[in-house]
Amino acid sequence: MTDLSYDHKQHLKTLLPEPAINEIDHWIKKYPPERKRPPIIAALKVVQEHNGNYLTEELMQAVGEYLDVPQIAVFEVATFYSMFHLDKVGKHVISVCNNISCSLRGADNVIEQLQNRLNIKLGETTDDGLYTIKTVECMAACGGAPMLEVDKVYFENLTEEKVDQILSDIAALEIAKQKKPADLSAEVKK
């Protein structure tokens, strides 16, 4: 008999560092062991973060194998939820809310300013691959409107100065990072 045994967990392990795999395993433990699908969202988020903010077909396939779920189950989740990017995006994704409360408090000005400063339109990525700007629906921070999110961090009560400050902070961190790797999200949060 031909041995068809296959370590379905191996593929993802070759694509991700160990801490990321451990993080996925941590999520798996939250759900009944016979249920394979509940950690899909969390696993895709971990994978996306480790792949420069976007998912590839190979990564989605590897997640499916790792969790022992059909490929289509992973693909359905990846295409349904707005936080997953299936195309290459910038290292830092700037998401601006332009729903009601933010629009009432000047979200359009924030969008305009970002487009001008970064010289890209909504949905585009800068040539250096550092920034993508996009609009998102309400992020539940309307008391601090207008607001935006960079990677994992909310910035509220935006003014022209504040938006400029955010951009120069990210730029400064990027320069520092080239010298010494550091976790941006932790630093920006201050």
Binding site: K30, P32, R35, K36, R37, P38, P39, I40, I41, A42, L44, K45, V69, A73, E76, V77, F80, Y81, S82, M83, F84, N98, N99, I100, S101, S103, L104, R105, V136, E137, C138, M139, A140, A141, C142, G143, G144, A145, E149, K152, V153, Y154, S185, K189
Partner: protein
């Protein structure tokens, strides 16, 4: 009469810590249960008496919902918290999660005891990284003190609570979509019945409540159902967190008694921004129909009063609009939102939200036609009541509201190709 319930730790340093929560009486309701002084029947009775109504938007009586759970049914049952806050204008659950996470945890443990469930999930929206970290830390503190886990405080009660995160989908705030999402699928709502109390997470009996609802429970049990009821008004018990945003001087969350006048709430939020004139208010999140200033200034903020005026209290998201607001523009933002967030499962909603959004944007861009408004109203009517979940209604109701009160602004724009509101 402010910050007495969900925000009762707000005045303290590090209000999210276990010490802060215990210093205001936190976990004492759980201790009473452990000591055998508070049975599950008594808890449900107190909740019914308190007239606590679902804080997520539907306003369903929480005590009644809890009583539907088949506590004696063998096998696992689940307690699920809906922290998928996303109704435009709403930002209260984020603050409960960030500033008073232990009260939510205690509320969910108590629910677990009442329903005989040993596992809970707190479903937070995917963008809530900061609240997630607070919650994770709070869960660890609670586990370390044996408020969570096996044989809680030496009793026979066991309860484990997990944080779960979404990934960006408004529809997951609908409880059956949330359950689908928790199971790792697309967040597409299920047919009801069966209701989650019979067939929920993993096909097991499940109780889903909003963050603010669970977090209200410990305080009700520490005091009494009557005490909570008296904070509000009959059939509208307690305080409620109102998220006030838009054209006010000091936007923010205000936890005040139900039945407080809108006038007072507006004053608490610092009044109108820049002293401008109030034009209208969206009283309960973007799916609630807009109400003109004259109506709002006469109203009290509670489920019954707002409902009687033709709108709804919803999640308590109060969006204040001044005289410079163009209603066509606002309708366009609203219609686009529901178009964007429709899960695509039911044809009337999937197609109808797109039609509404395109027609309003056509008007906004100076291409409106004479029969557009009748069409809009017709499309909205044809969505209502014809979809699996309430998103269809939530998309249609505000559009009908804009047309009912501000039809002349749409007509003006169709005719003159510009807004009636002078810049």
């Amino acid at each position: 009469m402010a910050n007495e319930v969900c925000f009762r730790t707000l005045h303290l340093d590090e209000p999210w810590s276990l010490e802060a929560y215990e210093s205001v009486g936190g976990y004492s309701a759980l201790k009473k249960i452990v000591a055998g002084e508070l049975g599950y029947e008594k808890i449900i009775d107190e909740l019914k008496l308190s007239a606590l109504r679902g804080r997520g938007g539907a306003g369903f009586p929480t005590g009644l919902k809890w009583s539907f759970m088949p506590r004696n049914m063998p096998g696992q049952k689940y307690v699920v918290c809906n922290s998928d806050e996303g109704e435009p204008g709403t930002f209260k659950d984020r603050d409960i999660l960030r500033f008073n996470p232990h009260q939510l945890i205690e509320g969910m443990i108590i629910a677990g005891y009442v329903m005989n469930a040993t596992v809970g999930y707190n479903y937070m929206r995917g963008e809530f990284y900061e609240p997630f970290e607070r919650m994770e830390k709070a869960l660890q503190e609670a586990r370390d003190r044996n408020y969570l886990g096996e044989k809680i405080l030496g009793s026979d009660i066991c309860f484990e609570l997990h944080n779960h995160m979404g990934a960006g989908a408004y529809i997951c705030g609908e409880e059956t979509a949330l359950i689908e999402s928790l199971e790792g699928k697309k967040g597409q709502p299920r047919f009801k019945p069966p209701f989650p109390a019979n067939y929920g997470v993993f096909g097991r009996p499940t109780n889903v409540n909003n963050t603010e609802s669970y977090a209200s429970v410990p305080v009700i049990l520490e005091n009494s159902g009557q005490w909570f009821l008296d904070l509000g008004k009959p059939n509208n018990g307690g305080t409620k967190i109102f998220s006030v945003s838009g054209h006010v001087a000091n936007p923010g969350n205000f936890e005040i008694g139900l039945g407080t006048s809108f006038k007072d709430l507006l004053a608490m939020a610092g009044g109108m921004l820049g002293g401008k004139k109030l034009k209208a208010v969206i009283p309960g999140g973007s799916s609630s129909p807009i109400l003109p200033a004259e109506t709002m200034m006469q109203l009290t903020m509670d489920y019954d009063a707002i409902g009687k005026a033709g709108s709804m209290l919803g999640s308590g998201a109060v969006i204040v609009l001044d005289e410079t607001t163009c209603m066509v523009n606002l309708a366009a933002i609203t219609a686009h939102f529901y178009y964007e967030e429709s899960c695509g499962q039911c044809t009337p909603c999937r197609e109808g939200t797109g039609w509404m959004s395109r027609v309003i944007h056509r008007i906004l861009n100076g291409q409106g036609r004479a029969d557009d408004l009748d069409n809009l109203d017709r499309v909205a009517s044809n969505i209502m009541g014809r979809t699996i979940c309430a998103l269809g209604d939530a998309a249609a109701m505000p559009i009908k509201g804009f047309l009912k009160h501000y039809r002349h602004e749409f007509e003006y724009m169709i005719e003159h190709k510009r807004s009636i509101v002078a810049e």
